[in-house]
Every structure is written in C-alpha cells, then in structure tokens.
C-alpha cells in the first residue's frame, strides 16, 4: 500500500497535495464538486486586515500553457474570514487548513496572524510576502532578505502555529531570501508565487489587464518553480511547500525530488475544478511505476 503521507512542521497530512492560495477560495465552492477532505490540506485566499475589492477588470489573461491574473488580493478581510468563512469551511472540511495572510505593513501582518493564531482550524500560517498585483505591500516585503526577515520576526512573535513564508520568484536570489526567513525563525518556506508578466491586445493595442501586469502561473512556470525549490532546498533545512505549474502526479514527484515536502496545486484548479482530485488519485499509480513506496522518502532525493 503506497504511503502518501508527509509531515509539515509536525502537521501530519495524508498526502502532499495542497491547493494553492487564490485558486481554491475558502473551499466550499469545490466541495460542490468533490469531498475536499481527500486533500492534504489547502491554503485559503490571501487575507488582509481590511476587506479588499482588488483591481478593476479585466483581471485575467491567457498565456501559452498558463494564465495571468491581477486580482489584487480581493478578500473579505480577517474579521469575516474568522466569523463567516471558517465556520462555513468547517461544514465541509474537517482537516487543518493553511491560512494565507497578506499585508501592507509589519503591524498588519502581525495583527492578522495574531487573530488567526487563535483559530483551531488553522494548522499552518502561510505569510504572503509575494503578491505581485498590489502596490506598497505584498511583494515589496519579499524582495530583500532584510524585509522578508522583518516580517518573519513580526509574525513569529505573535503566533505559536508553524509559519511558512511564501516567496516571490521575481527576485535575483530566492535562496538568500529563504535563508533569511529561516534565520528569522520561519518554520517553512512556500514557493513560488506567480511571475510578473503582461499581455497586449492586438486589436486595441493596449495591455489586456487593467493593472497592466499580472502574475503568470500554469505549466509554463513549472521548470522555473522546480529550479527555485531546488535552490531553496540547498539553502535551508526547514520544510518547503513547492508550487508553480504543477498539474500531474508526475509533476508532484518531480517537485518532491527537488526538495518539496508538500506540493501546491494552483492554476490547474482554475482550468479544471477536479485537477487536485485527479492528481491525488493518480499518485499511487505514478509511485508504483517509479518504484516509490513511501512518498516522504523522496523529498530532496535528486540532490
């Protein structure tokens, strides 16, 4: 019997598949398609202190083997996430969820993490310092080792739950930033967020996205994500949630060989609401074909 279970900072999950933040809402929409308790966990939509509407439309553009989004962290705000979304999630998901938290100041990150720390349903806090679609926040904290470490320290001071820092690929040396987060006390690293890109409409000769740029995700970014997971694995000893373009069980295994202890599935959920389910169901076959009996054994196996 194939063993798919993995361990993230003491959180044992039945398989490594974690739908990525922003591609799975707060879970209940997908519960209409399948029993989401089959997931290892999932990371809920990036949440800020205040409710946010996000960017004007159009927010979505297509790319070869992927898509761009410029949502701009639309979310109902931490109060409603705690009072409405988590109780609603409890009806359909009995496992610990990953809380994705974003912010525009150290105080805001700390405030939201302190609030979410009290929620029993939350197993891990994933701190988003990598959103490419908002100004003066999000990604600006994730682009230097110093600011990434400062957010890590601010958050670690107010929570007892494992803290995973979600990093941006739009940097010169992601391993250096991951190492700074580890030194500041991070329990794990999530990577990658989306890559900044754009499209231009040939008829109007204007950018497709109202935000001009957006974040590229989907199979197009998989080799980049894999390379960055490889580099971060070499630089840190804390667990990695690897993500970026994962769309098959073989991609999951490749990502784990590069160093991921668990694997996020993002844009694939947008293309096909059943994507994460299909990947989980086909993992045992891929493992058998590749002679893997215990998935946790292959983490970083390619190094």
């Amino acid at each position: 019997m194939a063993d798919l279970s993995v361990n993230l900072s003491g959180l044992h999950i039945s398989n490594p598949i974690i739908p990525a933040s922003g591609t799975f809402g707060f879970g209940h929409e997908f519960a209409g398609f399948y029993d989401i308790n089959i997931l290892g966990s999932f990371s809920f939509k990036g949440t800020t202190r205040e409710p946010r509407f996000g960017n004007p439309a159009p927010r979505i553009a297509e790319a070869s083997a992927g898509m761009l989004n410029a949502i701009g962290l639309q979310n109902p705000g931490i109060d409603r996430v705690i009072s409405e979304e988590l109780p609603r999630l409890r009806q359909v998901f009995s496992k610990p969820v990953i809380a994705n938290i974003s912010g525009f100041s150290l105080e805001e990150y700390a405030y939201c993490c302190e609030r979410i720390d009290k929620e029993e349903q939350v197993g891990i806090i994933e701190v988003n310092i990598s959103c490419p679609n908002v100004r003066d926040g999000g990604m600006s904290f994730g682009t230097t080792p110093e600011s990434a470490a400062a957010v890590t320290r601010a958050v670690k001071a107010v929570t007892t739950k494992p803290v995973y820092m979600k990093l941006s690929p739009n940097v010169t040396d992601i391993a250096e930033i991951a190492a700074a987060c580890e030194e500041a006390g991070a329990d794990g690293i999530s990577l990658i967020n989306t890559l900044t890109g754009m499209r231009i409409d040939l008829k109007s000769r204007k950018p497709v996205l109202s935000n001009i740029t957006g974040g590229l995700s989907g199979p197009a970014v998989f080799p980049i994500a894999l390379r960055m997971v490889w580099e971060v694995y070499e630089a840190v000893s804390i667990p990695i949630i690897g993500m970026g373009g994962v769309s098959t069980a073989d991609d999951v295994i490749e990502m784990m060989l590069a160093g991921a202890a668990a694997v996020g599935v993002g844009a694939a959920n947008i293309r096909d609401p059943f994507a994460s389910k299909k990947i989980i169901e086909s993992l045992p076959d891929s493992m058998e074909r590749l002679g893997i009996s215990r998935l946790a054994d292959i983490i970083g196996g390619a190094h």
Binding site: G22, R59, I60, M67, N269, I270, R271
Partner: protein, 245 residues
C-alpha cells in the same frame, strides 16, 4: 453545475463570424435561460464561457462569434468531436418577474441566451416583444426562429441594411412593456438601462478564470457589494447595477 463530456452533433456557420453548435450530453444541471457553459479546448489553458442558447432533454445549443483564437478553434470542430465542459453555470434570468408583456433586447453575441428566455416566457403565456440588434444584415441570425416561437420581433441594424436603421434603443420608443431583459455589449446595456421605463435584468460579460466563483477574476462592483459575474451573475438586477464608466 456539472462537468460533463459532450459530443458535437452539428457546428455550422449561421451568419458572418457567427456559428451555431449543438452539443449532445448531460444537460441536467441547466436550470434557467441565461446560464452558460465553460468549455475546455485542446491547446488553450483557460476554458471558454459561452451562453446557452437553448436546450432539449439531451442536448444544448450555443451560438457564438468566432472573434478570437479560442472561438476560431471552436468554429473548426467537426461533427463527432468530443468536448469537456462545465455546464449550468451562472444564475440565469428570472422569468417570474416578467409581468405580462416583457421586452427582450439583445445585441449581436448577446442575442443567443434570449432565445431560450423567449421560449420560456411564451410557455408561461406572456406576450413577448424582442428587439434584436445587429451591425448589418450579413451578421443577422435567428430572426425567423424568434418569429416562429411566437414573439413580436423588431430588428435594428447599425447600417440600416435590415429593419430599423440605428441602435436597439431606437426601436424602444412607443413600445408598451412590463419588464426589460437585456444582453449585449456593455455600452448597449447602459443605453438600454438609461432608456428602459421598467425594472429589468441585464446580463454582463467579463474575462473569466475558473467560471465557478473561486478565482475572483470576473468581479463586478455593484450597488449591493461585489458580484462574481460567473457565479452571482452574469444576470444582474437593474437596481444592483453600478456603471463603472
């Protein structure tokens, strides 16, 4: 909403750029006219949202314009081709609010969902007037189908090559109606909204990601909070609409 396999039963050119495709498969999740189907296409990452024109017990019809690479690919699909699609998405039109003499106004690619709406309203015993707006006669489609259903049909063309010369709003003067249903490009919706004398429902369009209300890609700021066009829409009540421009 359901994800199902469909077989292309027919796919034919109706008018300039405009195709009609009949898809055979499980349509049980379609509840209302104005809902849409989200079609997966080989070689394209995002699905294509297309409004449902009409349906029977075992098939549905879409009428779409081939105006981009995805819809051009669709236009090339032959009978027997298999497609996967999410079906029965979106809220659709509420036929209960129509009153006795509803007015339906469609422009171009916004016309197809009004076909099933017309059929339902006529089945409910309503006296239906339909205004169909096209750029020119060579882009016109479905006129005789609407007439055959039993609706009072008024045609407008921007160049005057068929029916009333002008915009759909030019045909609204003097009409006696109890409720307004509209689907078409946003400038048309705005013009109808400004001119309509009754309450109504307006079907919007936006670039979509998931189609199931998760990704927040197609969000519209309404008077009553944000609306996901794919899930809370595409049909909005007149009093909810907050024009962005």
């Amino acid at each position: 909403m359901k994800k199902n396999k469909f077989i292309v039963k027919s796919n034919r050119l109706l008018a300039k750029y405009t195709y009609e495709m009949e898809l055979k498969g499980d349509i049980s999740s379609i509840k209302r006219p104005g809902q849409f189907i989200h079609i997966e296409l080989d070689g394209f990452f995002l699905r294509r949202p297309i409004s449902i024109c009409d349906w029977t017990a075992s098939s549905l019809t879409i009428v779409y314009k081939a105006v981009g690479r995805g819809t051009e690919y669709m236009a090339g699909l032959a009978e027997g081709a298999e497609l996967e699609a999410l079906v029965g998405l979106g809220n659709g039109f509420d036929t209960q609010k129509s009153g006795e003499k509803p007015l339906l106004i469609g422009g171009g690619a916004g016309i197809p969902p009004l076909y099933a709406l017309t059929r339902k309203l006529l089945e409910n015993g309503k006296k239906v007037t339909v205004v169909l707006g096209f750029n020119s006669a060579d882009e016109a489609f479905y006129i005789s189908k609407f007439t055959t259903l039993g609706a009072n049909v008024i045609i407008t063309t921007a160049d005057g090559s068929l029916g009333v010369r002008g915009l759909v709003t030019d045909a609204m003067d003097g009409l006696d109606y109890s409720y307004t249903y509209a689907c078409g490009p946003e400038p048309m919706l705005k013009a109808v909204y400004d001119k309509a004398l009754t309450d109504g429902q307006y079907s919007f369009e936006e670039r979509m990601g998931c189609g199931i209300g998760v990704c927040m890609g197609c969000v519209y700021r309404s008077k009553t909070g944000y609306k996901r066009i794919c899930k809370d829409g595409p049909v909005l009540e007149k009093e909810e609409i907050l024009w962005q421009t």
